[in-house]
Symmetry: C2
Subunit: 243 residues, 2 copies
Amino acid sequence: MSTENKPSLHTVLTPQLLDLYEVKDSIVVIIDVFRATSTMATALYNGATKIIPVDSPEACIEIGNATGGITAGERDGKIIPGLSYGNSPSEYPKSFIENKILVITTTNGTKLLHMALRKGAKEIITGSFPNLTQVVEYLKAQHAPVILGCAGWKNRFNIEDTLFAGAVIEAIKEHFTIHCDSSFMANQLYNQHKNNLPTYIKTLTHWHRLAAYGLESDMLYCITQDIAPSLPIFKEGALINGV
Amino acid sequence: MSTENKPSLHTVLTPQLLDLYEVKDSIVVIIDVFRATSTMATALYNGATKIIPVDSPEACIEIGNATGGITAGERDGKIIPGLSYGNSPSEYPKSFIENKILVITTTNGTKLLHMALRKGAKEIITGSFPNLTQVVEYLKAQHAPVILGCAGWKNRFNIEDTLFAGAVIEAIKEHFTIHCDSSFMANQLYNQHKNNLPTYIKTLTHWHRLAAYGLESDMLYCITQDIAPSLPIFKEGALINGV
């Protein structure tokens, strides 16, 4: 493939920067490593029928009632009053989630997904280390522009989502035209730390925030590559497993 | 100094993220490595009386006429019609700029400076590799919260401004409380590349953009540490040399 024919790839470091990029007709990968998109990959891999991401607890309860789905969401490390489960991937083993609908509200990832939807994304998938290879293989097969969308933390940059973007870039960069300093930085950051991720993540702001709630093992799970190889793809209001 | 008494330090990766941070009562460092803040440091070091940063060519002409100042500004590598000089540090040697007023309009840096001003920054200075040590010594002496403000490129992230933020952080991090992934990333990026900056910058998007205008030597100057050791500080509408 000649350089000219390779589609573009950009990395959006936080949702607040999304409007600077050509979302329309791009495939957008929603990245929320700790923990929304890791949990989504896990639930679908373990047989959930679909996942309905919603942006408020009220919508979560309403849609949970309407669909008979399991309602899930946390704020500050605790299950939101009125919902039944949290955001931890460990809550969704096959024995529990298979053939069920999960209705989930999360702080950063769900918001970004809905923004990408409103801006006319061609396709929306979610990415995380537990489903890295599925994401990589999907993007390589599409021959379409890609936006790696980091959910960040309250619109600020965070390192763990950027690390995952860098892991994707490392795997697919030969197939894309990249004129994007955010992507170069993400790729370098990943290569700098890829051999010591479990140690490195303990230096991050989000590690300290979630470790205070006892969620260390969740975070180690969330950087485990290909442990939940599903492909969450957004179709008709819900994420389904595209594998 | 105990941890509790150390002031905070944050890095703002692009102007579009500035509203997420506590600008009021902070010292804001405006960073526009290629080339606005490098040129400002140079002009003040070479004896310019003051620099008036403005956000449009029209304002540049008007204030140039009112003050008898030299008007400067580029778009797309060319001097803007109606202005007299460009954005290159090489245009402002002592023999030319000493005892003169420089009225300059730039794409990204000037805009960020005015944003910080409107948001109530306690002090505004400009930083670049040519005046790195002056910036570092000033920040260490103030005992106040610091925001390192990267001008970026049309609100997108760029690597060269983040590298300079990382250089500042490397020099002052023991004196500040840092809970900011942007700052951690900037510091790591700088440490990863500090020993090969002249090679590394040739991989950046901005290098390619400016090299197309023949500005390679400008960019190499702009990563030369302490070659123009002034301290541009914003007072009564203009940057003066605070050294």
